[in-house]
Symmetry: D2
Subunit: 442 residues, 4 copies
């Protein structure tokens, strides 16, 4: 089936022929390779907690090769980047809508978070050295990366709270102390580079006290002064082999040879970098979630075709089909929000599209969560189990109401922006009196 | 303020310069003339039930003159019509988003329901005679019209239930019998023509038994065989002078001289005509409602700027601003749904855009209803009263969950269409097994 | 049918035989007299705005006589009052669940707001004079009363904002100035006494600056210094002949002969009085609303039995019956909340039952609102019209989310009370560590 | 704190002194022993999938001893049973409200599902042999049990679909074939007896073809003809060591010596038994969930006291405290529903309380799910992790919208029962016309 049927009317003429071709290839690759590979991937993961983090399922490498052959590689890196695949955010957004249907598709096409955001940062702010040493192998899918941001015991959505410190010692080297957690991807055996949001100063210019450090993860772990403490779970999932670890720095000193390359961009620009990292990434996440929601509906509609409920086919039950239609509408509303935001980024930039991005980020996980919850319910006990993967999707989706800023923070910020316009409303009504007087002379 | 700021990014390059100019003029006209005129309009309406239906507030004619001067006239009639103002549905949709903010704006610009749908029908299906006699004065805003569809005691959303009958008598003239109700606009003293959905045959081809009759309303009422029985209320409002009447036909015979022009299109095409009537009209309604929702938020934000709640300005209360932001998001989601549907009509037609129109029709009144209900709550007792007009908007909006087919009917139909694709889902999962086998050879 | 079937199990043994008998009589009286009288009542009301407020429908007096014969009179006045009918709040609550089903039943049984609350105040705080002059004819249903509280331009839910002032003039008489609005019942031609919350002092003891004045309404209006400015509407309804008026005091001086009886309780006790007035009244309101909700479901189930929707009886449609069941559950939850609160008042007092009352007050109108909205939808266009009275019930119910304190205020207050216990939670978790240590020795 | 403060007013005088004492002891035991033991329990569970099912955490036995000392043992078995602890369902319901706050409390007090339901069945229907061999050690907490009901590939909520068959072979012994799954507790190393719902006949009396077989689990597994295939997961949790297994019967023959005791009650009474099993059990589940919800709110309020959100203590944020209050109300509504149902069972029986039980069963998991979801959100990333246990509670709670019949089934059944009364509604409105006529003579 042509992907054109999935694209809302208003976006059709915004897609280049090259983009359309890639979107179609994405859909086909996901359906013919990735979705069937998902089960294999999970079977190839060791259930043994001591081995689970030591290797990655072999199927992944096969899929990566296939994706590269098809030219489905690094599509997330938009045309603004020299290294980019040349797609717009809108085009990639539509691709992500398919990639999100499968567990392995993002990794298979090297479009997996958090590597995508990290690659964007390295491409935008990295030195030639950073690009050669880290960006290149990341773009090649040879290594993986993590962004260490969230900290225990404080609201990391307010980055001013970040307190893992990096201080220069007598050698002039950064020494790190403190605990990060929920460092996604840090458990992966291939994870080689950490970008770490640190407090590098204590000045009054509170938005300039933080920096992003670039750390060779394997070297750091080898010293014993940086440690993977434990995997954090999401519901009962550990998301091995990537995982979300608690990482402790205990007087970890960056080796002298790495010091010249230890800061991304420059000291004190941590806030700028984390801001820059978030815009398009949120859009990618949202589109993947919508894809997951659509996959759940597909799964449910297959079941509805085969399951009798007290003598009536589920697909014939009024409450089923009206609920199904409602979920379709809800996903469509999110899709329009997200793609409109993607397009706004394309024609201006992430900063100008902040309002649109926030709306998409707030609405999508909520909506998809309801779709998945309903999907679970329609499958009964099977729905919560490992047999449908709906519960896993639910857990992943649920975290997106928290990650990159909880809904509450975004809604509050949006509200504060709206409130700035309230004075205009009062002016408006004041003026109405004037206009009313003029009307008597009409 | 430029209307560009109100238009979602993705639609910006779809608006012609002419369209953009008209949208801006609409906004200004509504703000400077219509909104200030709303109160005057209501004051000029007699509270006396015996006079209330006999004349229309004078302010209307003044506004109509002004609108014509500004070229803001009949904008609803899209470029598909010879008589059209030359705008796309998308462009007019954006205009309707402003017109809907004011009670009188639609009439002031001759874009009031049900006249709009009636004019579309007459323009598309009318003979030269129909156009000269009815369409022209309607387009000029000299007369008004009604569409008599809904009947007492049956679900008119299923048009097969329509039973007001027209049978030919010995003179070869149609004789009508039965009762219509909720005939919007039929109370207006200027209402001159009725389009009446009648059962004109009893054949087995059940979708060909109905026809739309064109009836000279004043002539009919003069005979006494057609009667305005009583106005139906909407939450206590009678919507005078237009109203929604119960209309009884008691052996009403169409006069011989009108018989040659008594059928719109031709006999048995009633279903085709009512189908044709509904597509763009639903979009217009939705955009007007969104406009009403935005106006409510404007009103609320003015209040929030001035009202202390237990010592804190309402505008500073967290629960207020987050609720405000949420309603803004919700309206934005509807706006995208509606405008996407309008654009789909523009690039294809109403039939092909059925799914998009249904989604917009289902979601918009619900969403706006919640906005208005919240607006009422924020105004306290004043909110339910005549002083804010929010309750009137609520009542109008509420009927749109019923009119032109209740939500349930649309959702059901949408669900049935989705269910037709369920077989594809089953094929899909069958095929997945094939693909999984192939993967082992990858 | 025995009312026992409507009473939740847990309340059964709390009802006295006398109470049970009265509840049954209430149900029968409502079904056999009041509900059939509702239409007659509305027909007897003049549509003419100049006459509508001048007399009350005759049917009312007939019903009152019948109710008195049956001993169904003043049941609201609980056993705490010497003048009381001797029922508990729980017993009367169950009666109100039937009275609320009919428009006229509360007036027919002399249990109509705001008279009920006013009678409670007069019984509790009135002097012998007050009781003779006002309470007696009120208890006899000969006159009616109003409580003038809410003011324009401020949040009256915070009574500190009340600013209609009463100051003593040279004669030593109170002189009132300011505007009250939404004075329910003040439009009634029989309305003879106003209780007016006024600011009578400007001291620093801000909770002691207000008093409730007792004013002879007819005398006041005769002077011209107190005026009924206009009726406020509720969603298009004026609720004639009782209404909700804007009342202006323009140097209105209480005549010397009334001065000795001009203050209820004593000066500066306004806050105490309004607090006292509200507890049981809220419970009465809630039970009446639940009754209205049940009546709506009854009406809907009758329709469901008779209406075909695309060939299927509404009563057979899955989405209909599951929605019906859900609304039944929702009403049941409110019923339990409300009756539990009523019982708590009975075994302690309104102050101690504050939390329970607040919960009932917050949940009931919301829940009933959704029942009524669904009822409207199930009736289609007829649902919003005067033919089902569902829209009128909706409007009445909607105001109860605002009157006697908006939901937001109650929820906030409840939240603040809960927050006072948060420190206990922290203690609890601190202690858990202790307990954990002890466990090792277990 | 006295438990009296947690008991809704209306239930207070229904609790015996003995019951009140036990409720208080339950609360104290849970707070002082069970909650602190929860973490220890999870630490003592091996993460190794090969060992995880082989032993149970030692802490459990210590707690069981303590509970027995305190007399907190088998409280679920109501006074209807000879072996019962002598409490009413209402009393035990209130205890379950505390037990549900802790992961280990139910097992510690021998009130864990599915053993409770199984013990009830054995007590009611078991022979002396059954009681001696299985009930006694179960009541002593020495062994555990499972009820094998749900089957793969069909809706087990309709028990007619149950197809695991038991047929007598030439020896006259039952031979079982087929697959059960989600057999809760079957993974436990102490699980010694299975009650298996089987199809034992194929007659036309379709409700008499099923029987409950009593199977010695260890013996069965030893043959290799009954196998634990794999644990089913719930949102990633395996719930070891109890688990929810897929169990396969492959020509498993019940040994001759067990045949005389192989059927509970008698052949063909499977439906009767599963009906009997469900009533009070649902109430227990609901009260435990409400307890879990309360525990989550306690946890959240502790956090709120300590967590700054953009400079404001969470406990001071309006949106936090109003949400908190709303969740408190919602839990209270469920508590009233559940306890009212429990009391109705106490004063009549489970069958007569079916409507009340269904309402409780439908509303509770939904409501608690929203509480837990909000709790998770308030904890941010920590909320989905193993550190708060909120996600585990969410998963457990979520299954209760499916187990013992999905919400949809219960709502449908409730709706069908309501629909039986629709004819009465029509009678009612027919009669109203009569009454209206009579009124004219009043």
């Amino acid at each position: 089936m042509s992907v054109k049927e999935d694209i809302p009317a208003i976006f059709l003429d915004k897609i280049s022929p090259k983009g359309l071709d890639a979107i179609q290839k994405c859909k086909d690759f996901v359906e013919q390779y990735c979705l069937p590979a998902d089960k294999i991937y999970l079977e190839q993961l060791s259930p043994d907690p001591t081995k689970r983090w030591k290797s990655t399922p072999q199927i992944t490498e096969k899929l990566k090769k296939k994706a590269q052959e098809l030219g489905l590689w690094n599509m997330f890196l938009s045309k603004h980047y020299a290294e980019g695949a040349g797609y717009t955010n809108l085009e990639y957004g539509l691709m992500a809508g398919y990639l999100g249907r499968s567990l392995v598709a993002p990794e298979a096409t090297n479009t997996n978070a958090p590597d995508t955001g990290n690659m964007e940062l390295l491409a935008k702010y990295g030195t030639q050295y950073h690009k050669e040493r880290w960006l290149k192998p990341l773009l090649n899918g040879e290594i993986r990366s993590a962004f260490l941001m969230t900290e225990k015991g404080t609201s990391s959505s307010n980055a001013l709270n970040i307190s893992v410190s990096a201080k220069k010692n007598a050698n002039g080297n950064w020494v790190l102390n403190g605990i990060k957690w929920f460092a996604s991807g840090s458990g992966d055996p291939r994870c080689s580079v950490w970008l770490v949001m640190c407090k590098t100063a204590e000045t009054k210019a509170i938005y300039e006290n933080h920096s992003v450090l670039v750390i060779d993860a394997k070297k750091a772990l080898a010293t014993g002064n940086a440690k993977l403490i434990r995997p954090l779970h999401v519901f009962g999932y550990d998301d091995a082999p990537h995982g979300h670890f608690e990482v402790e720095f205990n007087n970890y000193e960056i080796p002298s040879e790495d010091m010249p390359h230890s800061i991304l961009a420059s000291e004190g620009r941590g806030f700028e970098l984390i801001q820059s990292r978030l815009g398009p990434g949120r859009i990618h996440h949202c589109m993947r979630l919508i894809g997951a929601g659509e996959q759940a509906l597909l799964r449910v509609s297959h079941r509805a075709n085969n399951r009798l409920i007290f003598g009536t086919l589920m697909a014939k039950r009024e409450s089923f089909i009206t609920a199904f239609a409602q979920h379709k509408i809800n996903l469509q509303k999110c899709r329009l929000l997200v793609l409109n935001a993607a397009h706004k980024i394309d024609i201006s930039n992430a900063k100008q599209a902040q309002r649109e991005i926030a709306m998409a980020k707030i609405e999508t996980p909520r909506t998809v969560g309801r779709v998945l919850d309903w999907g679970i319910q329609m499958f009964g006990a099977e729905g919560v189990s490992q047999d449908t993967e709906l519960a896993r999707l639910y857990a992943i989706n649920r975290t997106l109401q928290i990650a990159d800023g909880p809904d509450e923070a975004h809604l509050n910020q949006l509200g504060l922006k709206e409130a700035k316009k309230f004075a205009l409303a009062s002016e408006f009504f004041a003026q109405q009196e004037e206009y009313r007087k003029r009307l008597s002379n009409l």
